[in-house]
Each structure stands twice: as C-alpha cells, then as structure tokens.
Amino acid sequence: MNLFSLSATFPRALAALTLACAALAPAARAVTPAEQLAGYTAQAGAPASPARGQQLFTNKHGGEWSCSSCHGAVPIQAGKHASTGKTIGAMAPAFNPERFTDPAKTEKWFRRNCKDVLSRECTAGEKADVLSWLMTLKP
C-alpha cells in the first residue's frame, strides 16, 4: 500500500519543486553585449583593449588549456568541448545573438572558465578586454 502512496506523492513533490524553482528564478534581465562591456569597463576604470583580449583568449597561460581549446581560436563558429566533445555555440555576439545578453550567465561562465584556464577568476578589465575583442568579430 505504501508503494501506491509513494508513487502518488512523488510526481506531486516534483511538481512542487519545479514550481518552487520557477518562483526563485530571478527575472532574467536582458541586456546587450555593449551594455555589459560598458559595465566591465566602468568597473575596471580603464578602456578595454581587443588585442589584449585576443591574447588572453588564445594563450594557455602556462596551463593545459586556453579559452580557444574549447571555443576555437576565432570563436565565430561552434566550438568543441576539450573534455566531453560536446558542441559549444559561437561566442562572438555577431554570430550568436544569445551571447552576453544575460549578466548572471556571463558572470557564471567567466568565473568557471577563467578558473579552468588561469586557475583564478578574471578581473573586470580582463573580461572587458575579451568581450571587446569578441565584439570586433563581424561577418
């Protein structure tokens, strides 16, 4: 009898959890890449340099990977994850309009991936450099 009540309870619990998560999800504030670049530049207190950004993106910094290891040397097309082989959408906003439109997502992946490549988080200036370089890549 308990199995019946279990199977009846479980979908309800799942639904409740889904609802709870949906309620907790922050309202995604859509921004443009230019706005995010302006934010990072203001934080850094210095203008961004696309050339420095490209250097940071393609250099291994003494580690095993560069950003390019997964995103490609010029990320205007889909990249391939160096560990899983999974396809990763293009990073340059001109080739992938979804990129750099969700500040929370941008922050999360800069944090994760800078640790993967540099073994530390990136500074606001470094993020501005990389983003400014990605924004120079046009079709």
Partner: protein
Amino acid sequence: MKTMSASPVEEAVPAVTHTPAAAPILVWDAPVRVFHWLMVLSFAGAYLSAESEHWRLLHVTLGYTMAGLVAFRIVWGLLGTRYARFSTFVRGPRAVARYVRVLLQGRPEHHTGHNPAGALAILALLGLTVVIAASGWTTYNDLAGEWVAEAHEAAANLMLLMVGVHIAGVVVASWLHRENLVRAMITGRKSGQPADGVRSPWRTVAVLLLAGVLGFWWLQWQGAPTGSGAASPSTAAVQKHGGDGDGDAD
C-alpha cells in the same frame, strides 16, 4: 502490492525482533551492496568534479551512472530479496514518528532491515538523485535557463546534507544496537534469527550491474576527444599507445 509472490523470498513481514542475536544471517543481497557503494563513489566523484570543465566528462558520466543505478534500484525494490524491497521498508509517517520517539527514550526498536527513519532517508536520496540527474541532463543539453542549473546545485547540496543525516543515523543506530552497520553493508551480514535471513545473495545480478556500469564508463571514455576527462598531454600520449582498460581508471 501483493504481486511479488514470484520473487525469490517468502512473505514480506517487517522484521521487528527483540530477541537477542543468534547467528550471522544474510540481510543485504549482493545487488543492494554493489548499488550502495557505486552510489557512494558516483555521488562523491560527481560532487567533487562539479566545478571544473577539466572534469566535466567525469562529472556527467557519474551523473548518468547515478540515474542508471537508481533505475536499477527501483526495479530491485520491486523484485529483489526481502530487505531490498520497498514493501518491507517503506512505512508511513506514524511508524517513523514512533521509531524516533522510542529511540529518544533510549530503547530503540530493532529492525533487521532498514529502520523506518533510515528508510525515509533512503527514499529522499533516491528522489533527490532523480531530480539531480534530470536537472543535470537538462542543463548539459541547454534545454532550459540558468535556473535549472541553480536547481541542480541546490538539489546536490541537499543530497550532501541527506548523506550526512544518513551517515549520522548509521553511526547512532550502530552504537545503540551494538551492531556495525557499515560492515553489514559490506558483508551483507548481521546477527539475527536464521529464519530472518535472505537465502540467496543474487551475485549474478550484482556482477551484471557492476559490468554494466564499468562498460558504460569505458564507452564514455572511448567517445571522448582525448580519451580521458582530464588527460594531460602526457597521459593522452600513453593512452594513444595502449588505450584499453583505462575507462575505469578514474
């Protein structure tokens, strides 16, 4: 739920006994034990490999492994031996409340299989694994927004908390009942009345389960770009040479 008459054991009776232990009897069949320790390994590995992309393949592989293990455990909970079956250990909230109340009074009920509180922890762990695997898969395949990734993390942390509760419960129950429950999950044996024992350990099923998991790991590693989730250039070169059997190395 009396549809289990075809299963290898007798009637499903809750084994509450106050008689002193007589002899070592088999309580946990081999599939239950292999499932348990593979879950321990997979959850620990997946939790520790969560933060880095270097370990992403390992993380995802262990997540799929947990999903597969839970699917197996649900089937085994219907078909397995006496103490493996949900029908013998899933109790209502009143049974759990009574168990805890009596426990707090210092005279705990002894259960040969799972006690009602432990059973609750097990159900929570199984349910959380389903939530974690589903949200992880959704995140990995970019099927929903960031909030699913957040839910994945939250559920994983809740699971870690439940693991802590489970371990604390094992320690407390081991001490109160003067029986080593960790060893019981390794050997499958506890002290008890011979009539309460499970007849067959079902080793073949356990071997198949283990082989399935190891085979899946091997396939995942074969399909990966470098042959390993965290291959440094040197290990990648080694693997190019003799790539066999490295799937279960991590």
